[in-house]
């Protein structure tokens, strides 16, 4: 049973007067879910507690075994760890080992009906990681690889977290604690419950259904599948590049092919992705051309996971906090990065301030608000992208501007930078948007729009000829 209303608003029963809602030696914390949010919360919470000499216990409830191949061991995502997150984790001392990184991504290739262009990092350095959340696709060969989620969970375990392989079915508020109930009817009490169940769980759904005041995150259906092409072919046809498609297909916001070891992951994001949309995507010439002989091979593994498109509210209560996808995340991009940011902010609040609704309101909610506000700008940015998807002349202008920039060495790469950050999720939507208002960006875009659309303009025809540095095809 889940007592959603009382649980989330912290209204009733009132916490025991006089007993401070702070954690002390021996306090127990329940973390529900060991996706990136749950494991990173546990890791940072225990690290911070250690620095101030606080002796606390963390139990992580997670029924999934990340050692399994296929959906059983996987938290279903495209598997891109953004440039900004790779750098922040490295700064924290968390180095993603080679067995976790399936491929370091060096560039993005944008495919449109008017041509393709490869956007390379100026540093020629791999700072984006393509990973598997589980242990690889269904029916894949045993890999000498390691699940990303499994790796983060191991870090939390090394810090002292205990993993309880059970599904949580209920949360109940007691006088001075939270009771966690599991599917096997076992239950235990904790001073703090951290909900990190993502959006594919029934737990947040139940919280939402039973409470008029709690709204669980809004979600939409996406699509992921894996193609087995073999390492050699992938190196030859995809290289260390993530292939992004800007196609005029209604309801499709983002489509990418991501090379990983022997497999390529296809990720389709948008509004309720269904089979009709998937068929339309596969029949696009730009997509078929990516595969040998223009034939799309059968996929070895697929799923329709849901993605958070609007935050839960509220994301905290007394002795309770919702982190990662089950609370607030970034729209369509860098969800793992948002899981890192929200989990760390929640851990800091619990260790250094307290675990009351007031503490989370003061020290945790501002970050969630910042992410939500940025998502509003993101929605606008995606609506502009939809206009571009429909307007061929705009696509020509963008292609022309990006291609020109990629051939120049020392001049600012404004369009490339905007596209890079938009695809990789490395910068906030607000930052991306502000950069598009720069007079030089606007001026250059206008110039390229005119040049590319004049009869005989540089991008009027699709010519698959390599040019300049060999990275631009248009």
């Amino acid at each position: 049973m889940v007592e959603g209303l009382e649980l989330l608003t912290g209204k009733a029963p009132k916490p025991h007067k006089g007993k401070a809602m702070t954690l002390g030696d021996g306090s127990r914390v329940a973390v529900i879910g060991a996706g990136p949010a749950g494991s990173m919360f546990s890791y940072f919470f225990l690290s911070m507690a250690e620095t101030i000499g606080l002796d606390v216990n963390v139990d992580i409830f997670e029924p999934r075994g990340f050692c399994h191949r296929g959906p059983a061991g996987c938290n279903h995502c495209g598997g891109i760890v953004s440039e900004s997150l790779v750098q922040r984790l490295a700064t924290e001392g968390i180095r993603l080992p080679d067995c976790v990184v399936q491929r370091g991504i060096e560039s993005y290739t944008l495919h449109m009906d008017v041509g393709d262009v490869e956007i390379a990092t100026p540093l020629m350095e791999k700072r984006i990681a393509a990973i598997y959340r589980g242990n690889g696709p269904r029916s894949s060969e045993p890999l000498d690889t390691h699940s990303f989620d499994g790796y983060l969970l191991d870090l939390a375990k090394q810090k002292g977290a205990r993993v309880i392989p059970r599904l949580v079915t209920g949360l109940r508020r007691e006088k001075d604690s939270m009771t966690v109930q599991c599917a096997d009817q076992s239950s235990d009490t904790y001073e703090l419950a951290v909900v990190a169940t993502g959006v594919n769980s029934r737990l947040t759904e139940m919280l939402g259904n039973e409470s008029g005041e709690f709204t669980h995150p809004d979600r939409t259906k996406t699509f992921i599948c894996e193609f087995h092409l073999g390492r050699k072919l992938i190196r030859e046809t995809f290289g260390p590049s993530m292939h992004v498609f800007l196609l005029d297909i209604p309801r499709l916001e983002f489509a990418a092919l991501i090379p990983k070891g022997d497999y390529v992951t296809l990720c389709l994001l948008g509004e309720d992705i269904d089979e009709a949309l998937i068929d339309k995507f596969f029949s696009a010439r730009e997509v078929r051309e990516r595969f040998p002989d223009g034939v799309i091979p059968g996929h070895v593994c697929h799923c329709y996971p849901r993605i958070n498109i609007r935050e839960a509210t509220p994301v905290y209560g007394d002795r309770l906090v919702l982190i990662g996808d089950s609370g607030t995340t970034r729209l369509f991009k860098d969800g793992i990065g948002a899981a890192y940011r929200t989990s760390k902010a929640a851990a800091k609040t619990a260790v250094f301030h307290g675990v009351s609704a007031e503490d989370f309101k003061n020290y945790y909610a501002p970050l969630c608000r910042k992410i939500s506000n940025d998502n509003r700008v993101g929605k606008f940015v995606f609506s502009v992208a939809t206009v571009v998807q429909k307007a061929r002349f705009a696509r020509r202008g963008i292609l022309s501007m990006t291609a020109t920039e990629q051939q120049q060495v020392d001049s600012p790469r404004r369009m490339s930078g905007v596209l890079w950050d938009l695809f990789s999720g490395s910068a906030s939507y607000t930052d991306v948007f502000i950069r598009t208002l720069h007079p030089a960006y606007v001026g250059n875009l206008l110039r390229n729009l005119v040049a590319a659309n004049l009869p005989g303009g540089r991008s009027r025809d699709r010519r698959n000829a390599d040019e300049g540095n060999g990275r631009v095809r248009h």
Partner: protein, 121 residues
């Protein structure tokens, strides 16, 4: 193909003492040595391995690099740019904790060395 960062051969210089720079580096794999150059002579300050970082002073000040960094074996290194780092610190100051901790170890190490040097004089 797997693995993050940029690959360097053994003996390659990442940056030289006196260079200007705006990023810090984290070693992913391999080893580097920090070298101080004076009057044409080289003094090895320290060796660093996986997960160690160097060049962090460039994130905080505009001065030139204080030492040369050279690989001692094939090494992969990830760069952390100033914008990302300072943006991160702005949102979450604890991001600097590990750097402060390491800098404090380095100051302690240098103080010990200085004390030993004074004794030997």
């Amino acid at each position: 193909m797997a693995g993050l960062g940029k690959e360097y051969k053994s003996g390659e210089v990442i940056f030289r003492q006196g260079d200007t720079g705006s990023c810090m580096f984290v070693i992913q794999d391999g080893e580097v040595e920090a070298i101080a150059e004076s009057d044409g002579r080289e003094f090895r300050l320290r060796r660093m391995g996986p997960n160690d970082f160097f060049g962090e002073m460039a994130l905080f000040e505009k001065e030139t690099r204080t030492a040369t960094i050279r690989t001692t074996k094939p090494t992969r290194i990830l760069s952390i740019d100033k914008k990302n780092f300072l943006g991160g610190i702005h949102e979450d100051p604890s991001l600097a904790f590990r750097i402060v901790q390491t800098m404090s170890h380095r100051i302690r190490d240098l103080t010990d060395r200085l004390a030993r040097y004074e004794q030997q004089k």
